[in-house]
């Protein structure tokens, strides 16, 4: 196709448009990385603020590090492994080669999600089996103590990346092998090369371009991957993509724009350098076509090579298998506590403060909802020590034996918690939990977009507000709104009532009432005036109010849910002592005050709750609006119409899950 006629202006225009389509979003990302304001749609002037913020953001920087590390390691391993595999395939009979190539193609042909899910299941099954095996080994000898619990993490992430990278390397090395003249190797051996030398001096140089392009593809795939990482990284190793995905569910910080810009420029510079060098070398080659190539000295054949080769193959095989185990055993030397909470649910200064005071490193992660947290724990992918589930979920976790009993001797600050929040129905003897916050669920609406006073759940199902309503994206809360509206008990186990509530939500959805089903995305949407009505938690409303004064909150007249979120320790936790230290620290009055001021959720610590108005006055030198205080800490007359969730029986939970899955259909 060397018919370089060039194209007409119209055709060039088409290409330009496609180029623009591909690059416009990237340029927008870049432009807004220099924005002085926090919005990614409103320009407030030039600033480098987000770049400095970025460098101080541990979470993002760590995920960049993980991304690069896993991509590099996976590329190296996959390139070596894939090259050997391709050579091996090349040496096989046609039939064997074809069937192995077909298996090799599976990860490439399969959707990423299938690869991710199946690897995830493999790891889960392996870890379960390993747990039983290690328990058995530990029970009859005490020389070596095997860790009984492995979790997904960097090791499994690396394995997954190697898995989907190798086929690409094979795909680009194989054609080079086929193009290679088979007589070359024979010729080399005839001329006195050993078999090994022929391999290194003839085969490898011949297929080098294939190896390089395979490595490049592998690296690209690794950096670009999200789905497979998402299912195999567990909770302790988060790649940049996973961090971004987590952030898009909440408030996205323009730091993300800054990191995009940095990545983009780095790659651009690298590519320009490579291309300029290549063009330069091509020119040189053309000007000196017959430059003498220095002859490589040929080493003497050695007898050790065949042995080495066999040992090498064995070592490689063992190494491949051993990776799984080794990564699970990953040293847990330093004192760490893995905390999983909700988005925007802590004053992050507290984390630093705790680390400085105790020397325990805090790994702080967030889950999306109680149900998602449950999935993580049940699947065995979670590496958490402390979690902060809500009341009903605590009940469920206790009944399934997933929580550890706390040693309250290590948590003296538990005494500061108001008796009102102790021994509640979900944990009647209070053996497992220390309350973190409490609050109510209600309707948040934008007074500038709604022209009537709102006090009923009916607006959540009203066609009048089509496409203006954000429904909460978890089954329990969404159906609670419908149950309240219908006048049923929010803890009902009657399937007919649940079905009726579900139909209400489904009809509203079918009529286009909902703009979306959201959890923490709600911040961005409500603050930006992108939706008029939503249901969410009182404390989060107050956070939004700081950024948009038009928002209002109401606990509907039909009643609602009041909840207690409490800190618990997982049965599988390896850091129980550190976990209790963390819980004690957070339960202190000072931490509760700081938290209340930051997240606007009411504290169960009596001293902190009562002392907050004074604390606020001292800090901001103005009086705390009593209305705000009432929304944060709902007065008895509001709480009277609210009810707490109870843990539902297994069949009802299954029914919830079924309804919830059907809602998406």
């Amino acid at each position: 196709m060397r018919k370089a006629k060039g194209n007409s202006a119209g055709n060039r225009l088409l290409m330009l448009l496609v180029g623009l389509f591909l690059y416009a979003p990237i340029f927008i990302l870049i432009i807004f990385s220099f924005n002085a304001g926090t919005s990614s749609t409103v320009w407030k002037g030039f600033s480098l603020h987000w770049y400095t913020e970025l460098l101080n953001d541990r979470l993002i920087m760590h995920s960049v590090y993980i991304t690069l590390l896993v991509s590099l390691l996976a590329t190296i391993i996959a390139t070596i492994g894939g090259t050997f595999a391709a050579i091996g395939f090349y040496g096989m009979r046609r039939k064997a080669r074809n069937s192995l190539t077909a298996v090799n193609n599976i990860p490439m042909m399969n959707a990423d999600i299938v690869t991710g899910v199946s690897l995830c299941l493999l790891f889960v099954v392996f870890f379960n089996g390993w747990g039983a095996f290690a328990g058995w080994v530990n029970s009859w000898q005490s020389m070596i103590v095997l860790p009984e619990r492995l979790t997904m993490g960097f090791g499994t992430l690396l394995i997954a990346h190697v898995c989907f990278n190798i086929p690409y390397v094979i795909l680009s090395v194989s054609p080079k092998l086929r193009q290679m003249d088979r007589n070359l190797v024979d010729a080399a051996q005839d001329l006195g090369c050993t078999w090994m030398q022929a391999f290194w001096k003839v085969i490898i140089p011949e297929i080098k371009p294939g190896i390089i392009s395979g490595a490049l593809t592998a690296f690209t795939m690794s950096v670009d991957d999200f789905i497979i990482s998402y299912f195999t990284a567990g909770t302790s190793a988060s790649t940049l993509a996973m961090t971004i995905y987590g952030m898009t569910k909440k408030r996205v910080s323009p730091e993300i724009n800054a990191i995009s810009t940095l990545l983009f420029t780095t790659v651009l510079v690298l590519l320009v350098i490579i291309n300029v060098r290549e063009a330069h070398m091509e020119k040189q080659r053309q000007s000196r076509p017959l430059a003498a190539v220095p002859a490589a000295p040929v080493r003497k054949p050695s007898r050790i090579t065949p042995v080495l080769k066999r040992v090498g193959a064995a070592v490689l095989a063992v190494a491949l298998l051993g990776t799984l185990v080794v990564t699970g055993v990953a040293a847990r030397r330093d004192r760490v506590v893995n905390v999983c909470s909700w988005g925007e649910y802590i004053d992050e200064e507290l984390i630093t403060q705790f680390e400085e005071e105790t020397g325990i490193r805090v790994n702080y992660q967030t889950a999306e909802s109680n149900e998602a947290l449950y999935s993580l724990i049940a699947l065995g992918g979670a590496d958490f020590d402390v979690i902060v589930p809500s009341d009903y979920m605590i009940g469920r976790l206790i009944s399934e034996g997933l929580l550890a009993e706390l040693n309250y001797d290590n948590i003296p600050n538990y005494a500061l918690i108001d008796d009102q929040y102790k021994n509640l129905s979900f944990d009647p003897e209070n053996k497992y939990s220390v309350p973190y916050t409490w609050g109510t669920v209600g309707i948040i609406y934008n007074t500038a977009m709604v022209d009537e006073p709102i006090d009923s759940w009916s607006v959540m199902f009203d066609e009048k507000y089509a496409d203006e309503v954000l429904m909460i994206n978890n089954s329990r809360d969404a159906l609670m709104a419908a149950l309240c509206y219908l006048g049923y008990d929010i803890n009902t186990t009657e399937e007919a009532q649940l079905q009726e509530a579900f139909e209400l939500v489904r009809t509203a959805k079918a009529n286009g009432v909902y703009q979306g089903f959201v959890m923490d995305e709600i911040y961005q949407k409500m603050e930006g005036g992108n939706a008029a009505i939503s249901m969410y938690y009182a404390g989060d409303y107050l956070t939004m109010l700081e950024n948009n004064e038009d928002l209002a909150f109401v606990v509907p007249k039909e009643g609602s849910n009041w909840f207690v979120d409490a800190m618990c320790v997982l049965e599988t936790s390896q850091h129980k002592e550190e976990a209790e230290a963390w819980i004690n620290f957070i339960a202190s009055t000072e931490a509760n005050l700081a938290n209340m001021d930051y997240i606007w959720y009411a504290s169960p610590n009596t001293e902190a709750l009562e002392g907050y108005p004074a604390y606020y006055e001292e800090l901001y030198e103005e009086e705390l609006d009593p209305e705000i205080y009432e929304i944060m800490a709902a007065p008895p007359e509001v709480l009277d119409r609210c009810e707490m969730y109870l843990n539902l029986p297994q069949e009802t939970l299954k029914f919830y899950d079924k309804l919830w899955t059907q809602l998406g259909i």
Binding site: M1, N7, R12, L14, M15, V18, L22, Y23, I26, I28, T41, G81, G82, F84, A85, I87, G91, L100, V103, N104, I106, M109, N110, A111, I113, V114, T115, S118, L119, L121, L122, V125, C163, S172, V185, D186, Q189, W195, T220, V223, D224, Y230, I244, T248, S260, F264, A313, E371, S375, L379, S475, Q515, G516, G528, N530, D657, W660, T661, G664, I665
Partner: protein
């Protein structure tokens, strides 16, 4: 010599058995078991209820693939007629966005398509929204784009268009120029040359392009979650929800994955039958 070389593949064959074959076997076992580990058909029996999700996913993925093909083919063809340095730069430019994670790019579209987003701001400034209200007599303040199926398709096209362009381009650019000359010498006009020579010869590239766009589109969950607002589930969302989302049921998730995998594989086999087993175009 050749047989000696085959030993190099042994570690990888072991690796494949553990990390390619075993996971799929485990997935199949999960798909046929209930929570307690017994055998059941239940997970598949429930599948009928999710028919509409399957239909929607395939519909959106097909539309996205068709658009990618309609845009990607002309671009690849036109590219191959440009000068060498132009081609080199264009290839780099097409590859470049892939080095930024696709979630970053999708996130950017969120800010563009939002109700108060950049595109709506632009429409407002240009008076397009006022004009639309004048013509239709409506009173909208913005076009709602985010949370629609259109936005999801846009996200798919945007993210996977390079996967369509690259294989087609790499096939077309390698076409033997003398074939085209021969066709012209034999009296074919440029339309005929394209239809009878270039198009059939570029088919392998088209097929692998279709595969590379369709498969990720049909199984995505991040794009539909970010641009679709979570109101219209796709297959990917449905699966994700059973494993790490709000409705824990890995057995059902495994069953859905299995069915999706089977449908995709059948589609690919049928399509490749049309391609008569032509070798897949090699990317890059």
């Amino acid at each position: 010599m050749k047989n000696k070389l085959s030993r190099f593949a042994v570690p990888y064959v072991v690796w494949m058995a553990i990390f390619v074959v075993a996971p799929i076997v485990i997935m199949v076992i999960y798909a046929f078991s209930n929570g307690e580990g017994g055998f059941t058909w239940d997970n598949f029996a429930q599948m009928g209820a999710y028919g509409s999700v399957f239909l929607r996913s395939f519909k959106l993925a097909l539309i996205a693939t068709a658009i990618c093909l309609l845009v990607g083919y002309p671009v690849s063809y036109l590219l191959s007629r440009e000068g060498a340095s132009f081609q080199r730069i264009a290839m780099v430019l097409i590859m470049l966005p892939m080095w930024m994670n696709f979630l970053l790019r999708t996130y950017s579209w969120m800010t563009i398509l939002e109700n108060n987003g950049l595109l709506n701001q632009l429409f407002q400034k240009l008076g397009i929204i006022a004009l639309y209200n004048n013509i239709t007599g409506s009173e909208i303040e913005y076009f709602s784009m985010i949370g629609t199926q259109g936005a999801v398709v846009l996200g798919m096209v945007y993210n996977y268009l390079p996967f369509m362009i690259l294989p087609i381009y790499s096939v077309i650019v390698k076409l033997d120029g003398s074939l085209l000359e021969a066709a012209r010498d034999l009296g074919a006009d440029s339309v005929t040359v394209f239809r009878k020579v270039i198009l059939p010869l570029s088919l392998p590239g088209v097929l692998s392009g279709i595969t590379m766009v369709f498969v990720p589109s049909v199984s995505t969950f991040a794009i539909s979650r970010m641009l679709g607002g979570g109101t219209e589930l796709l297959l990917g969302d449905l699966i994700e929800r059973q494993f790490l989302g709000g409705a824990y049921n890995p057995q059902l998730g495994a069953a859905i994955s299995l069915v999706m995998m089977a449908v995709v594989v059948i589609c690919m086999l049928v399509m490749n039958r049309f391609g008569e087993g032509e070798e897949q175009a090699v990317m890059l």
